[in-house]
């Protein structure tokens, strides 16, 4: 067992209930097996498989995560308008119900698959794998995976993405990184969305949000963006293009799980 996945450190077997030294037929022995296996090993395996697909075709896969209503779909709409004639983009949408978001994306002339998760609070690697069958990866540059709006569960599941982008809208609290540390620790980029509202909100301090992020030992860049002010998107668009260029220049660069794992 332990050899098959290569993840075991030790395997001790000892009988605690063998009578009189000799094992009697029919007697129940107790066996204890020590191992070190990630509980999400199966999901990790499928995620690695997804990542191989993306790498084979040079597709950059970006996982977008945030609370519901922080502007993921609006950001994607404006991003498609800005980059659609330079890059071939596709989107996987995750929601509990409705095809609304996929329709909005398709209206921008980009292929989109809607995953309806029902009662499931996150996307997992297998859902993304199934959705990938709808696309011809060879004809794509950039795949966005818009996760279910939720600052908790999506952080635990690797989908095979190359980068996690976490949105924090300025209508939320600037202490969200402190309240949802697992999510914000996993972010490779944090976008402070709806930043056009900063002018009328006096209780969101971008510097405070950034310092909460740094307290999580996360060096990810923080950018203020507004889907309604196209000019604010320039750093985000440049970041995407740099990520894509880096990925294509170095096909074997690190693959990242959504959470930085310490030990194993």
């Amino acid at each position: 067992m332990c050899d098959s996945c290569g993840c075991a450190t030790t395997s001790h077997h000892h009988q605690v209930a063998a009578a009189g030294g000799a094992v009697r037929p029919g007697a129940v022995e107790r066996t204890s097996i020590d191992l070190v296996t990630r509980l999400l090993r199966e999901n990790d395996h499928v995620a690695a498989h997804n990542r191989q697909h993306f790498d084979r075709y040079g597709v950059l896969a970006v996982n977008l995560m945030s609370s519901p209503g922080s502007g993921k779909t609006s950001l994607l709409e404006t991003t498609i308008e800005a980059l659609g004639d330079k890059l071939r983009i596709a989107v996987i949408e995750g929601d509990l119900e409705t095809e609304n978001d996929a329709r909005r994306i398709r209206a921008k002339g980009v292929p989109a698959v809607q995953i309806m998760t029902g009662q499931t609070c996150h996307l997992d690697a297998a859902m993304v794998h199934d959705a990938l069958h709808a696309f011809d990866l060879a004809s794509l540059d950039l795949l966005f995976i818009e996760n279910v709006g939720n600052l908790v569960c999506p952080a635990s599941f690797d989908l095979g993405q190359h980068a996690n982008v976490t949105l924090l809208s300025v209508t939320e609290g600037d202490d969200k990184p402190a309240k949802y540390p697992v999510m914000f620790r996993a972010a490779d980029l944090v976008l402070l969305s709806k930043s056009d509202l900063l002018a009328v909100l006096d209780d969101f301090d971008p510097a405070a949000a950034e310092s909460h992020l740094r307290a999580l030992a996360n060096a990810a860049p923080v950018m203020s963006v507004s889907a309604r002010r196209r000019e604010t998107l320039a750093p985000w668009l440049a970041w995407l293009q740099t990520q894509l260029a880096t990925r294509r220049g170095e096909p074997a660069v690190r693959s990242r799980a959504p959470v930085r794992h310490a030990g194993v």
């Binding site: 191992l35 070190v36 999400l40 908790v152 569960c153 309240k179 697992v182 310490a262």
Partner: protein, 139 residues
Amino acid sequence: MHELALCQGLLAEVARVATAHRAAAVTRILVAVGPLSGVEAALLDRAFSVARAGTLANEATLEIEAAPIRVHCANCGAESEATVNDLRCAACGDWRVRLLGGDELLLKRVELAVTADDERNAEPAAGAGNGGVAAMSIR
């Protein structure tokens, strides 16, 4: 929440171990859950009591080991304990630290009841060979 999905992953791993050892039942499972794993121990425990039904682990107890958050500071080299939303170095306050532990989500030990039977080879133990989560329980 996602604890139920995690339990299904846990039980699939446990079933692999139990099947490989031709176990009649799983008696105890030990997992390590760090505060930064994104998993709530109490919810995992509750989800386990639902998810184990109809598996070889039907009667198993789940023990959840809490793992401390420990960091190594890139600035001063100190190792210290940290809290879930403040990983900064306890010695110098620098945020450029590397996590040493605290995000674990690991299956660490499985205890099995194995029937010692000379005819085991002729009649494989219950659960062996069905590949997935064993569908029977021994009471």
